[in-house]
Each structure stands twice: as C-alpha cells, then as structure tokens.
C-alpha cells in the first residue's frame, strides 16, 4: 500500500485526475486505478515513471529501520476516532503544562477543542479538518500540544465563519500561523482556550474541494460529526510544508492503517 498512497499523493499534488495522469504517462486509466486501490503493486521503475509524469521525483535514501511509533499507533487504531481524540487531548495536557512551566508562563487551562468544532457546526461552516487534531483522529502518535484547530473552509463563508469566531469570543491572532499553511487567518477563541486557523489552501493541496473528495466524516459525539482530511492528504500537506518533522509519524500511521501489521513490518525492515 506504500506505492498506492505515494501515487495518489503525487497525482493529487499535481492536481491531476487519474485519466489526465494516464494520458500524460501513456497508460490506461484503469492501470492507475488498480495501483491506487492497492489491487496491483507497480514495479519500482513503473512507479518512478508515473510519479515523474506528475512532475515529481521519487527519491531514495537508506536510513535505519524504525518501528518506534508502531506500538502507539496500534494502540490508537484499536480505539474509535472519538476516543483517540479524547485520549490524545488528555495526554497532551501534562506536556503543555510542562512546556509552559519551562517558559515561565502560567499553566494553560485545557483547551475545549470540541467546543470549537461545535461552534463551527452551529454556524453551519463547511470545512475539512486538517492539522494535529485530524492526525490524531487517524491514529497518529504525535500529541496535539499546540491547542490549535486547523480547517480548510469552503470559499464564500465569511458570515458563517465570523459567527463561529464570535461565538468563541474570538479575535485575530498571527501566533498560530505555521509555514505549512498558505495565507491562513488565525483566531484566538478565548471562550474555548484554543486557536482556530482557517487555511484557504494548505501547501501541497488545491484547497477545500481537493481535500473534501477523500475526507471522511467522523462522529465525535452524538451531535457532532466532523469531515476529516484523509491520512493520504495529511501526508501530502506535511510533505509539502517547509518543516517536514511530522512526515515520518504520519507516513507510518498511513502504512499501519492501510496494511496488515506483518506486511507493514516487512515494509519497514
């Protein structure tokens, strides 16, 4: 499944349909579809040709095998997405407190991330969730310690977004802006103790419509279902960002969530 996700990621980054990529590479569209569904595994040489047709280069490096994330990813994958989020937010709190203490700042109150998502829901904002919360919902082992909710909103929702921000006692801030997001707007939502970042088109993507196609609705409680970017797209965003520190954890999450453990271990070795 590594080649399947790599090919999908490359094609989406290039903004190509399967048919367009097939035309560029001189192959049948069905061949691309079979590779991306994981029904057939392309040879390495074939994969390089297809990725090159996306305007990208598949590079290789030999690094030490690493299964250090596997235990925590496996433990997360055994839970429901809602429970993954609840547990990760709880486990992130002592890290946030320790970091605040080290910086000489007061211990922050736990942020109400679900409160932010509910405010967006009540204001009928159409969006795809990305960022650290989306990663955790897919089983990433990285703790969500920045206290930020990051979304890619559909264009033309200024009034809905303003209503959601106002409901959270929000005001603009630039502090949460990261290098992976293209011209985002950041808001500190004081009522929820969290920040909301609204990203029009994160690096490596073409915005809401691009991410919505593969996004998964995830139920977080009885009244709240959130559309979450696919883990392939989260890898795509992390790969395209200037700071690629999240890539290894996300890539391993992708591998373990789509591949039986024995096969994933063989891939890692």
């Amino acid at each position: 499944m590594v080649s399947a996700s790599l090919l999908t990621q490359a094609r989406r980054s290039a903004g190509l349909s399967q048919r367009a990529l097939a035309a560029r590479a001189g192959v049948a569209q069905q061949e691309i579809a079979r590779y991306e569904r994981g029904r057939v595994t392309p040879s390495l040489e074939r994969l390089r040709v297809l990725i090159a047709a996306c305007g990208l280069e598949l590079t290789f490096a030999l690094t030490r095998a690493d299964d250090s994330y596997d235990e925590q990813i496996a433990a997360a994958l055994a839970l429901t997405p809602a429970r993954r989020l609840e547990r990760a937010l709880g486990d992130a709190q002592p890290m946030q407190a320790a970091r605040a203490q080290a910086a000489g700042a007061p211990t922050p109150a736990p942020g109400d991330m679900l409160g932010v998502l509910r405010a967006l829901d009540r204001a009928a904002v159409r969006y795809v969730l990305i960022g650290e919360l989306a990663e955790v919902l897919h089983g990433s082992p990285l703790l969500p310690i920045t206290g930020t909710v990051t979304i890619v909103a559909r264009a033309g929702q200024r009034d809905s977004l303003s209503a959601a921000v106002a409901a959270g006692g929000g005001h603009p801030t630039a502090s949460s802006v990261t290098s992976s997001i293209d011209a985002p707007a950041g808001f500190a939502l004081d009522l929820y103790g969290a920040e909301l970042v609204v990203a029009p088109a994160p690096a490596g993507t073409h915005g809401y419509e691009d991410l919505r196609r593969d996004a998964t609705p995830m139920r977080l409680d009885e009244d709240l279902t959130v559309r979450v970017a696919s883990v392939v797209d989260l890898v795509r965003i992390a790969e395209a960002s200037e700071d690629r520190a999240r890539v290894p954890a996300l890539r391993r999450t992708l591998e373990l969530s789509t591949t039986p453990p024995a096969a994933a271990s063989a891939d890692a070795a």
């Binding site: 690094t63 030490r64 690493d66 250090s68 994330y69 596997d70 235990e71 925590q72 990813i73 496996a74 433990a75 839970l79 547990r87 709880g90 486990d91 002592p94 890290m95 407190a97 320790a98 970091r99 203490q101 080290a102 910086a103 650290e132 082992p141 990285l142 703790l143 310690i145 920045t146 700071d243 690629r244 520190a245 999240r246 890539v247 290894p248 954890a249 453990p261």
Partner: protein
C-alpha cells in the same frame, strides 16, 4: 502491571525518579518539547548513571511505578523484577508504567551516557522542591543526528531553530568552526 491505555502522566514519572534520588538526564521528545518543539509522543526517555547504587534507586523507583517490559504492540508487558543487576545487563529498556511509557537508554546514540550528558543538562523544577535534569538542546541534536532515523533527521530543523532562539535570547556566540570543516 499497568493497564492498557494508561493516561500519560510524565510529571509523576519524573517526581518518582527525583524522590528516589535517581541520577538521570531526561532526553528525547519530552526534553525537546520543553524547548518549544511540537513533535512529541506519549513517553519519557531517560539516561541513568550506571553505578550499582544508582541502579538500585532506579529499580526502587521502577517498582513504585509498577514498571513492566513492553514487548510488542497488542501483547501484554512482561513484569520487570526490581533488580539492579538485571538493569545493569541492558542498554535499552522500553517500559510501561502506571503513569505511561518510560524508555531507559544508558548510552543514547552519539553520546557516552549519563556522565556525558549531565554537564550540559539544566534542572527542571518539580513540585515539592524536587528537580530533574533535562538534556541540553545541543545534546539532543547530537543524539538525534547520530541516531539517523527518518524521524530524528526530520526533527532536526525544528531543534536547530530552537537552539538559534536560545542563543539569540541568551546572546551566546556561535561555537568556533570545526577545524576539520574546510
């Protein structure tokens, strides 16, 4: 034995180690997150001194934390006997405790262990007037560079940027160039 999906309480792990007067340095993601890095998982990494007296104190602390050896995902941890001679036999112990995962490495990559790390470490205050030594950013970078796994190398830009911020804040000059670096 710690239950599965134990809530992560790093502060408690550190308090128990400090209360038992275990000589150790905290390394890894916890040390990095204190410097402002955003990449962290739910575990604590420490490098203890390997003298028999210290390993006895470490064994006592691990006993209080109900430490058990993590085997592999999906399998229950194996109980760890509170025996300093056993601890002396291994360089790496991946443990589950009733406050979360604790990884013990006596010689992190690129370092010579506790004696090498302790001089650069700073002391992080804990409740009750206790302190725990935290590895310096320079030493974390040294270790991750030597470890060379994809996740270590990917974290280096954030770590180096944090080190730059620290130097700017403290107005510390850059180290002299390596004489071998032409």
């Amino acid at each position: 034995m710690p239950p599965e999906n134990t809530p992560f309480d790093p502060q408690r792990i550190l308090e128990v180690l400090a209360r038992h007067q275990v000589q150790c340095v905290v390394i890894g993601g916890y040390a990095a997150v204190l410097a402002g890095i955003d990449i962290v998982t739910r575990d604590i990494d420490i490098t203890p001194a390997v003298e028999p007296d210290n390993l006895q104190r470490l064994a006592d602390a691990l006993s209080e934390l109900h430490a058990a050896i993590r085997v592999r995902a999906g399998e229950p941890p194996v109980p760890l006997p509170a025996d300093p001679r056993l601890l002396a036999r291994g360089e790496i112990w991946n443990l589950a405790t009733d406050a979360g995962d604790l990884d013990i490495t006596t010689r992190p990559d690129g370092t010579n262990g506790y004696e090498d790390l302790k001089d650069g470490a700073y002391r992080q205050p804990l409740p009750g007037g206790l302190h725990i030594p935290i590895a310096s950013l320079q030493d974390i970078i040294r270790s991750k560079t030597a470890a060379g796994r994809a996740k270590d190398l990917a974290a280096l830009p954030q770590l180096r940027a944090a080190l730059e911020r620290q130097r700017d804040t403290a107005n510390i000059p850059d180290p002299p160039a390596d004489p071998d670096d032409h």
